[in-house]
């Protein structure tokens, strides 16, 4: 009789694999269903780019806040009532200027200041962005629709530790006199990652 012990069965679908873990957690009293609901709320309602947009608009209109934000991002966003996970011990805010463009990535996985700028978009976690943006930043940004002037310095920030980064976009010239609320509506997650300019 042939040895059947090494015959591979077909891989279960990802949904079934998730169901299996969830059911096993449930049976052990770990209450996964409740936590999934809690997580859904955080992901959909709390970790949104509108948080970072508020930070940016405040920095554009309040020079003292901007100084605090650049000196210690974590303390400054906490002052606005925003929170970061305990293991994100530091938030470094990267100031774009007419001469300097910053862009963030995580080549090793997908790290982001998600409670401030929102959870990372799909492409940020894809192999292509992670592999290429550190080495071919100008080319990649151009392919993504951001054609930077040749003389503009590019600074790429690879999130390899638990320090988190966000880009402070350059305030558009035509927005003089706008309210903070109106300014905040201009600010996108992509601009705080640094793959677009406003």
């Amino acid at each position: 009789m042939p040895d059947q012990s090494h015959v591979q069965q077909a891989t279960a679908s990802v949904e079934r694999r998730v169901d299996a873990i969830q059911a096993a957690f449930d049976e052990r009293g770990m209450k996964p269903g409740e936590f999934i609901e809690e997580f859904r709320h955080l992901a959909e309602e709390e970790w949104v780019p509108e948080n970072g947009a508020r930070v940016v608009a405040k920095a554009w209109t309040d020079p003292a806040f901007r100084q605090r934000l650049l000196a210690n991002g974590r303390d400054a966003v906490t002052d606005l009532g925003l929170t970061m996970p305990v293991h994100h011990r530091h938030l470094v805010v990267l100031e774009n200027t007419p001469a300097v463009h910053n862009v963030i990535c995580c080549t090793l996985c997908s790290c982001t200041a998600f409670s401030i700028i929102g959870l990372p978009p799909d492409w940020y976690k894809d192999l292509e962005y992670r592999a290429r943006v550190v080495r071919q930043s100008r080319t990649v940004l151009k392919e993504m629709g951001l054609d930077l002037p040749a003389e503009m310095e590019i600074r790429v920030w690879d999130t390899t530790a638990d320090t988190r980064y966000m880009v402070l976009p350059d305030r558009p010239a035509e927005t003089a006199g706008w309210s903070e609320e109106k300014l905040a509506k201009l600010v996108t997650k992509d601009a705080m990652i640094g793959v677009s300019r406003l």
Binding site: V14, R17, V18, D122, R132, V134, R138, W157
Partner: protein, 205 residues
């Protein structure tokens, strides 16, 4: 480990699949996976360094072909089995099929005993360390020279923390490298900043 996950600077990849207002999640199960591994971290079953390392330990063919959240799922399942919370047999019985897990872990290492302190402006060299376990030094900076531009609060040393080895907190330094230093004659001109743990660095005189 010099794993498949260490993608920075790898060549041959095509255009970023970019769209405006791109979504984070595409299928309902993806949010469940994210919640379940967060729950496991919250319950103290494993920490984020162990979680990241279990993704890195996926067999390379599986790593490259899996979606982002399938990688999360594989790490979660692997660690629950390794920690004795679940068995693979139970998972495969419940899933009614094979449940691929990550490959076994190699040993970790403690913090380097004698570490130097740096300040912004200091010129530093990344050690030419090759380790079998978890490491947060991307391969593209190994042996390269840069300048410290920032200092972070201390974090647990990941090379230890991912392996149940006693991990002292140590600072990370934002180190600026020129792409010319990293990939001579083979990169767009830019500065790349990397958060580098103190144990990975030496001073350049």
């Amino acid at each position: 480990m010099d794993g498949m996950h260490d993608l920075g600077g790898r060549q041959g990849f095509g255009r970023v699949r970019y769209s405006l207002k791109a979504e984070t999640f595409h299928e309902p199960w993806e949010k469940r996976v994210n919640a379940l591994y967060s729950l496991a971290v919250k319950l103290g079953i494993f920490n984020m360094d162990e979680y990241r390392h279990a993704i890195e330990r996926m067999e390379p063919r599986h790593y490259l072909s899996a979606s982002y959240y399938e990688r999360s799922l594989t790490s979660l399942a692997t660690l629950c089995v390794e920690k004795g919370i679940l068995t693979r047999e139970e998972l495969e019985r419940r899933a009614q099929g094979a449940f691929p897990l990550s490959t076994p872990s190699a040993p970790g290492r403690p913090n380097v005993a004698t570490r130097e302190h740096f300040k912004p402006g200091d010129k530093v060299n990344v050690k030419t360390d090759y380790v079998p376990g978890h490491v947060r030094m991307p391969g593209y900076i190994r042996g390269k020279t840069g300048v410290v531009v920032g200092v972070s609060p201390a974090y647990p040393f990941p090379d230890a923390h991912a392996h149940g080895v006693k991990a002292d907190d140590e600072p990370t330094y934002d180190v600026r490298f020129s792409t010319e230093e990293l990939w001579p004659n083979s990169a767009d001109e830019a500065f790349v900043h990397v958060g580098v743990f103190q144990s990975y660095l030496t001073r350049v005189a």
